[in-house]
């Protein structure tokens, strides 16, 4: 009998063989782990042995499942706790241990986290990044969980699928990007919601005359302006080209791409000046203070407005049509959710948890923390939704295609080290589009390899 190699194994050994009823190998596999098992020591030894290989979501699951969460500020943290608590109640014998890491650190260290000793389940986003991890074998296949999931649209399922056709992700909430405005301002000045680019230009000119900055804009952090690029690209070239461009399959010196920048340069004068020194919050505050008329941003903008009358005054419209053959049926709506790590210590409970997360009960609890996002499950009860949420839900539902936002749709090294500086230099100097595209293409080649 060899010495136990870790505490968990030692504890596991204290359970008499008659109760264990499993062979040493599965026991070791289940016992190999960090203090998570200490809380349910012997019990864990039983459960991990019995659930590890079958992954049967319907069977009773016990033991501890660990969750890595990036919801670190108090309100979302409490919301996560609440639906984890609800899960524990519904599955007696299971404990959920939440490992909360602050938002920034969690995201920045995701590579190290997944290659170290990740929790069984963790928060993440849909998009290229999710598929990338799947390809590298860092996350677990949960296609069997998806067999039992109901209420998720095809678009959502597609966004949760890896390149190999298997599912790796369970959505919980998402939120749309659109053009936001204050109803009171539009009513007071008699503005109409623009449906085409020309109408947007006219509206902008009118707003300028009235002393407003037509489009609020703050790109100090680099990423907000990506949203505008995405919107324009979707309208000018359509969903397919956009996805292909993000995947690195297109040439950035293609006239189609130049057209996007040209169009943007055309409406750049409508944007707030000196955007590179302004954070998006400051830009949002200009909307709040009625100093600007519109803002292209995600619906999390609502968080900046005080609850009540001010938030109710917020409304949005989809980015105007630019090309009538393409229309406006593509929506950018980043999806947040959960994934399972490649070698979870308690696979059964992890999968049960993921299934639970896909259901309206968990999602509505999550929304309590952040009423600017919407649930992904279409059967969720929307009666408690604010007007903005209802409109968001409708907006996303009616979309034919959904994109995730540039920094989730493309390689993160390309997005952060190439696109952010490139877009910033475009904003500074919108005249040299050819030079810009050439530079982006050269760097893109070195990163994507082609």
């Amino acid at each position: 009998m060899t010495r136990p190699s870790n505490e968990a194994e030692y504890l596991a050994r204290m359970v008499p063989p008659s109760v264990r009823g499993v062979d040493r190998r599965t026991l070791l596999r289940g016992a190999f782990g960090v203090g998570a098992l200490l809380g349910a020591g012997g019990l864990a030894a039983c459960s991990s042995g019995s659930t590890s290989s079958t992954g049967d979501g319907d069977g009773a699951v016990t033991g501890t499942v660990t969750v890595g969460s990036n919801q670190s500020d108090p309100v979302p943290k409490a919301a996560v706790q609440s639906y984890m608590d609800a899960f524990q109640k519904a599955n007696a014998g299971t404990t959920v241990k939440i490992n909360t890491v602050d938002h920034n650190s969690f995201q920045e260290n995701i590579n190290n986290y997944l290659q170290g000793s990740p929790d069984d389940v963790f928060t993440w986003f849909a998009g290229y990044r999710m598929q990338f991890f799947a390809e590298k074998g860092l996350v677990g296949d949960i296609s069997d969980v998806w067999k039992n999931i109901t209420g998720m649209s095809d678009a959502l399922k597609k966004a949760s699928t890896g390149a190999d056709g298997k599912q790796y992700f369970v959505p919980i909430t998402n939120y749309p990007w659109a053009v936001f405005y204050r109803k009171s301002v539009f009513k007071e000045k008699g503005y109409q919601v623009p449906k085409t680019l020309d109408e947007l230009n006219t509206l902008g000119a009118q707003m300028k005359k009235d002393g407003l900055d037509p489009i609020a804009f703050g790109d100090k952090d680099g990423w907000p302006a990506m949203g505008t690029f995405d919107q324009i690209n979707l309208r000018v070239n359509g969903y397919d080209f956009h996805v292909s461009l993000m995947a690195g399959k297109e040439d950035w010196t293609d006239p189609k791409v130049k057209k996007v920048f040209d169009t943007w340069a055309g409406i750049l004068p409508l944007h707030q000046a000196d955007s590179l020194g302004r954070t998006w919050q400051e830009a949002a505050q200009s909307l709040q203070q009625k100093k600007s008329g519109m803002y292209v941003l995600g619906s999390f903008l609502a968080q900046q407005f005080t609850k009540g009358a001010e938030q109710d005054d917020l409304d949005f419209f989809g980015f105007p049509e630019i090309d009538s053959t393409i229309g406006t049926d593509a929506v950018e709506a980043p999806i947040d959710g959960y994934m399972m790590s490649a070698k979870p210590k308690n696979e059964g409970a992890a999968k049960k948890l993921l299934q639970y997360i896909s259901q309206p009960e968990a999602q509505l609890l999550a929304l309590k923390a952040d009423p600017s996002v919407i649930a992904t499950n279409s059967t969720a009860d929307t009666s408690g939704y604010t007007a903005l949420q209802k409109k968001s839900a409708e907006f996303v539902k009616s979309a034919k295609s959904i994109t995730q936002f540039m920094d989730r749709d493309t390689r993160p090294d390309f997005a952060s080290t190439v696109m952010i500086p490139a877009i910033q230099s475009f904003i500074k100097n919108p005249k040299d589009i050819d030079g810009l595209c050439t530079s982006i293409q050269a760097q893109k080649k070195s990163i994507f390899g082609s």
Binding site: I110, N111, G277, S286, T417
Partner: protein, 297 residues
């Protein structure tokens, strides 16, 4: 007689002493070799690959000098970063460090309230990055900052690449002066007071005393201060990172390394190449320092 010739005698070591000296040198050296130099060598080796930090080491593919070629030709922030580091060096060397030294000399006089002065000047050094970011955001923000509110202007202190480096250098000097003051003050406190007294008795003024008597005696400390200034300009990072992660006119080499290595970007090979360039530049500094130190001995 324990000392035949003055200096040989006091350097004779018993066996036990030899062991002690050996340990005193070996333990720290081993730690630094293990945790700094070995990873540094790995970094240099990684700079010849395009690894993304994920997967087994056996999966790493070498790409020769490709990263370096890319850095020099198609990577837009690189040359501006070098330029900015040089500007940073000049600013620290010509303004912030002398300021810090001046403060140390003034504070060293021991006037009443010296602790208050020391604390005030040193305070910026102990503040965490988040606070520093908030402080200067309050001052420099285009829409809501103090500077624009007072001057009535609309200068985009952070966003205009022609201005932001200088704005940030003010913030950096604010910190750097306190840091230098601390180091220099410790040195000044070590100067034999009898030297100063002798100068006073000879009728020397304060300034003459300082430049003719104290400054020369402080030579090792002066060297530290110069070296620290070089180190700080090469490794300048904190403030630009917290402002906008080192973009748009605030590019600095450390920030570029961090952008590529930390976070989801994970261009480990590319970032390592940038870090290797930093290593090369710093080895030049080290060689220069050693030359100067050798001249002394």
């Amino acid at each position: 007689m324990a000392s035949k010739r003055k200096y040989k005698g006091i350097d004779q070591l018993s066996t036990r002493d030899k062991v002690v000296v050996g340990l005193m040198v070996i333990v720290p050296t081993l730690i630094v070799v293990w945790l700094v130099w070995l990873p540094a060598i790995s970094t240099v080796l990684l700079s010849f690959t395009n690894w993304d930090g994920i997967g087994p080491l056996s999966g790493i593919k070498p790409v020769g000098l490709q990263n370096y070629r890319d850095i020099a030709t198609i990577y837009p922030p690189f040359w501006p970063a070098i330029q900015h580091n040089l500007i940073w060096l000049a600013a620290l060397f010509l303004v912030a460090t002398p300021l810090g030294m001046l403060f140390a000399v003034l504070v060293d006089r021991g006037v009443a309230g010296t602790r208050f002065y020391q604390t005030s000047i040193y305070l910026p050094v102990v503040l965490s990055l988040a606070l520093i970011g908030f402080i200067w955001q309050l001052i420099y923000s285009r829409d809501q900052g103090l500077l624009n509110a007072i001057t009535g202007g609309t200068t985009d202190w952070y966003g205009d690449p022609n201005v932001n480096l200088w704005a940030v250098l003010v913030a950096a000097s604010w910190r750097h002066a306190g840091y230098i003051m601390l180091l220099y003050l410790a040195g000044l406190k070590g100067v034999d007071p009898s030297l100063r007294e002798a100068a006073k008795i000879d009728g020397a003024s304060e300034t003459t005393t300082f430049f003719r008597v104290v400054f020369p005696v402080m030579r090792p400390i002066n060297i530290i201060v110069v070296v620290v200034t070089f180190i700080e300009s090469l490794r300048a990072f904190d403030i630009v990172w917290v402002i906008n992660k080192g973009r748009n006119g605030l590019e600095l080499i450390s920030a570029l390394v961090t952008q590529n290595v930390v976070g989801e970007a994970s261009r480990i090979g590319f970032g390592s190449a940038l870090a290797t360039i930093m290593l090369l530049i710093s080895s030049v500094l080290v060689v220069i320092y050693l030359r100067i130190a050798m001249k002394e001995d």
